[in-house]
Amino acid sequence: MSTLSARPVEDYTAKDYKSDLKPIWCPGCGDFGVVQAIYRALANVGRPPHEIAFISGIGCSSRIPGYTTAYGFNSVHGRSLPIAQGIKLANPDLLVLCAGGDGDGFSIGGGHVAHAIRRNIDITYIVMDNQIYGLTKGQLSPTSRRGLATVSSAHGAMESPVNPLLYVLGYGAEFVAQGTPADMNGLAKIIEEGIRYPGFAFINVQSPCVTYGQEDQMLKAQKATLQTLESLSHNPADRLAAMDLAQAYGEKLYTGVFFRHAKPGPTFERLARERQDAQRSTVKSRADVLNVFRLKKP
């Protein structure tokens, strides 16, 4: 997030970010907790809603922008990141959030993640990873475990799941974290940290699907098994250690910050602004662009 608004932080509370739209998630869906955590994180950061753009794809989870008072964009399946990048580049002063499901982000949208990361555009990307396709009623998702039987895999999944944490670390993401609504305080905190991180931030959220998910993915089971990375005294500046821990995705539920770059690199939009500033002086008005077509006697 590049600039904080002039308005003092204490002016905002979580409910300033809650819209009037009634969520149509199933009762008990993990996404209720995620949106609450987002309200809290935003209130702590304190940007006014109209300076926030919140983009999602399609899925149960992707309904989330509509439940906030920010400018929302519930776009098309898998394309939240390209759209979010366009928004941030068009207006770097905005706080840009991006969210969606595991399918949205790592199946159909999987080709965009690496590029958002290598550009290091300052967007906070929250994946509500429920290891299933919720909205389309229970098909395999890319994070579904091997062997899982679903409506689309009656005889069990034959592929290995993707590992979102390891992937984004491999892509060079500078901020990588995992949370769960089973630990609301922790979740709100890492979302806030992600937003405050001056560059692309990736947050995987283990948000259970109570309708199509597995027993061991529910909040109750999560509460019993989760381990905070803090409690493991993980050093979030250590990328290799982060990768090592990330390998356990799907087996162990670690929450907290896996990786936070000690020296944040330049964002694309900062470099773009520098370039604009450097080049602007060479022209006076937009019409000057036509000069290249002018024939001059040699």
Partner: protein, 625 residues
């Protein structure tokens, strides 16, 4: 209103010059040329294109008009390469027909271009004598050129320029001599281009040029090719379609470009990658076409004017995002520099076969405007118009350019950007922001649009059907009303007569219709037909979709027969018109797949035949009374 050259009836006067010679004022009795087409081919390393560009620049500096098209084989380096340059004393709109002067650096490469470099009975053929072919044995079957002249081009190049890389400079000398164009300018251009390479290199180049010139002077042509003075020499621009499109975008206020390289559109991205920063904008080379247009959708949502550019395969990939922009009512401009299709097709050659796609690729009930420029120069007003329509109607707008228009170089009148009218999107007033309703049902169907950063304007944009407030809905009645809003809002656009070129007698029984890169050919054919006494009128839409029923109905009112000319296999414009307009039965189609040339003479011929048939028909009808 569309700023530009050929608005409404303001069609340029007939290029009287076409194939007509005038008299040499200096030595009366010797005919001088007002319109010449030169074609040259060789291998990639021969500097063919740079020779063509030098010649065009030189001619333009002297006040001539010109069109330079380039054509290449599929190789990146070392393949065949060619140009076609038409030089004229008056405005020209097409690359013309058969060559007046053909230059073959080697025959193998020359022949690869086939009908793109047509040699006829009036052509003077020049070729490198190192090809060891006798003038009466040149490998052109079925034609006897007016004159065939072997020139030891390579030899001269080596002897004077010091290497065969000077061959193109020798040819420049030859042309300069025979055409009487650009002695000073070519040399000056060479000097400028080689400035960094040192005096020795420049000197050699000059020598090569003069050697060519000298050869030309010593070998006058049977058919004289001296150019007459240009009719009204004024300062010119030299533009190419892709670059001018990019520049026009900047003038229109474009602040964001997102795209992915693809032939023959990439120059638009290259230009903006160089220039857009100066105007506070950003260029993003995205990971693919979906991300490119996705970022454009985002930038537009953020309140900025934004554009993407691509060719057929990229258009296919952008389909879903364009649909999103339509239902979310977000402005954007998408340029399709068409090439031969389907699929990867022929990337380096033009075609006009993406019209159906431009109009109909989205799923669901959608209208999005489609514009087509008729020349490289026309890219300026058309691009400005595209941005204006996008912002005014909150819609994606497609510009259907093609390789021909996009990559050719033309002389153009100096552009006065100040004369252009720029339209901005309608933003909500302070009052409207008190209770902002993004998709409010208004009389026009257009609702003021806010953007992030605007206090009180907060709303949810989406590809899901929504109510006035932007909240998702599955209600059939709301869906119906929203469809109606999104389609009806284009009604005024269909009334825009200034997006059509109409010319000829209002009551002519013969009609000629064409669009995009073939329109220039049709316009020339139209004037040819007029000079031949045909009662014909002309219609060139620059707005292709939605179809303006009324404009066509009026045009067709007097029409019994006619011709629709386009560069595709299925007569796509003809079919599109039929959907909405009662097209007279007597309308025929001249439609060819890409890179099969269509010439003004051919179109005029066809018109003549149609006119004859019409007359026969009339005579056969029993007389009244």
């Amino acid at each position: 209103m569309l700023a530009g050259l050929y608005v409404g009836r303001e069609v340029p006067p007939p290029a009287e010059s076409v194939d007509v010679a005038t008299t040499n004022p200096l030595s009366p009795g010797i005919a001088m040329n007002t319109d010449l087409v030169i074609g040259m081919a060789g291998s990639g390393g021969d500097g063919i294109v740079s020779a063509g560009e030098s010649l065009l620049t030189a001619a333009a500096l002297e006040g001539y008009h010109g069109v330079l098209t380039k054509s290449f084989g599929p190789q990146i380096r070392g393949g065949e390469s060619s140009f076609r340059l038409r030089v004229c004393t008056a405005k020209v709109l097409s690359p013309g027909g058969s060559l007046d002067l053909a230059v073959a650096l080697n025959w193998e490469d020359f022949l690869k271009f086939g009908a793109e470099l047509p040699v006829g009975g009036q052509t003077t053929v020049i070729y490198d004598s190192n090809t060891n072919v006798a003038p009466d044995r040149i490998p052109l079957v079925g034609v006897t050129p007016a004159e065939v002249i072997p020139v030891p081009i390579e030899q001269i190049a080596r002897e004077t320029g010091g290497s065969d890389r000077a061959k193109n400079t020798v040819v420049l000398g030859l042309m300069s001599g025979w055409l009487g164009i650009g002695r000073q300018e070519v040399i000056a251009g060479i000097r400028k281009r080689l400035a960094k390479k040192g005096e020795e290199i420049i000197e050699r180049a000059e020598k090569a040029f003069h050697a060519g010139l000298e050869f030309a002077e010593q070998h006058p042509l049977k058919t004289d090719r001296l150019m007459a003075e240009p009719s009204a020499p004024t300062a010119k621009f030299v533009v190419d379609g892709n670059d001018l499109c990019a520049a026009a975008a900047i003038v229109a206020g474009c602040d964001f470009f997102g795209g992915y390289p693809i032939t023959p559109s990439s120059e638009i991205m290259h230009f903006l990658g160089r220039e857009i920063w100066k105007y506070g904008g950003t260029m993003l080379q995205a990971e693919d076409e979906i991300a490119g247009v996705g970022a454009v959708v985002g930038a537009s949502f953020a309140g900025k004017k934004a554009m993407t550019a691509t060719s057929g395969p990229g258009m296919s990939l952008k389909t879903e995002m364009l649909g999103l922009a339509s239902i979310a009512e977000l402005p954007l401009v998408c340029v399709n520099v068409q090439r031969g299709g389907p699929s990867t097709g022929i990337p380096t050659k033009g075609e006009q076969s993406d019209l159906f796609q431009a109009a109909f690729s989205a799923h669901g009930d959608v209208i999005r405007p489609v514009l087509a420029p008729v020349s490289a120069e026309d890219m300026f007003p058309v691009t400005i118009e595209a941005f204006n329509l996008a912002e005014q109607y909150q819609t994606p707008v497609i510009i259907l350019s093609d390789q021909e228009v996009g990559q050719r170089k033309e002389t153009a009148e100096p552009i006065d950007a100040a004369a252009i009218r720029i339209i901005e999107r309608q933003k909500p007033t302070a009052k409207e922001l008190e209770h902002y309703v993004r998709f409010r049902f208004t009389e026009t169907g257009i609702s003021p649009i806010s953007h992030p950063g605007m206090k009180g304007g907060n709303y949810l944009a989406s590809g899901i059907e929504h109510n006035e407030h932007g909240a998702p809905t599955a209600n059939g009645e709301m869906h119906s009303r929203m469809n109606d809003k999104r389609l009806r809002k284009f009604d005024p656009l269909k009334q825009r007569r200034d997006l059509f070129i109409v010319d000829g007698h209002a009551d002519a029984p013969l009609g000629l219709i064409s669009w995009g890169s073939t329109a220039g050919i049709a316009i020339e054919a139209f004037h040819l037909a007029l000079t031949q006494g045909l009662r014909v009128k002309l219609l060139v839409p620059r707005l292709l979709y939605p179809v303006s029923e009324q404009v066509y109905q009026e045009f067709f009112a007097s029409i019994a027969r006619g011709l629709v000319v386009e560069q595709n296999h299925q007569s796509q414009l003809f079919r599109l018109l039929r959907m909405f307009v009662d097209v007279p039965r007597g309308i025929e189609q001249l439609a060819k797949s890409g890179s099969n040339p269509i010439t003004p003479a051919e179109v005029a011929d066809r018109l003549r035949q149609i006119s004859l048939a019409l007359q026969r028909e009339k005579h056969q009808q029993p007389s009244e009374g």
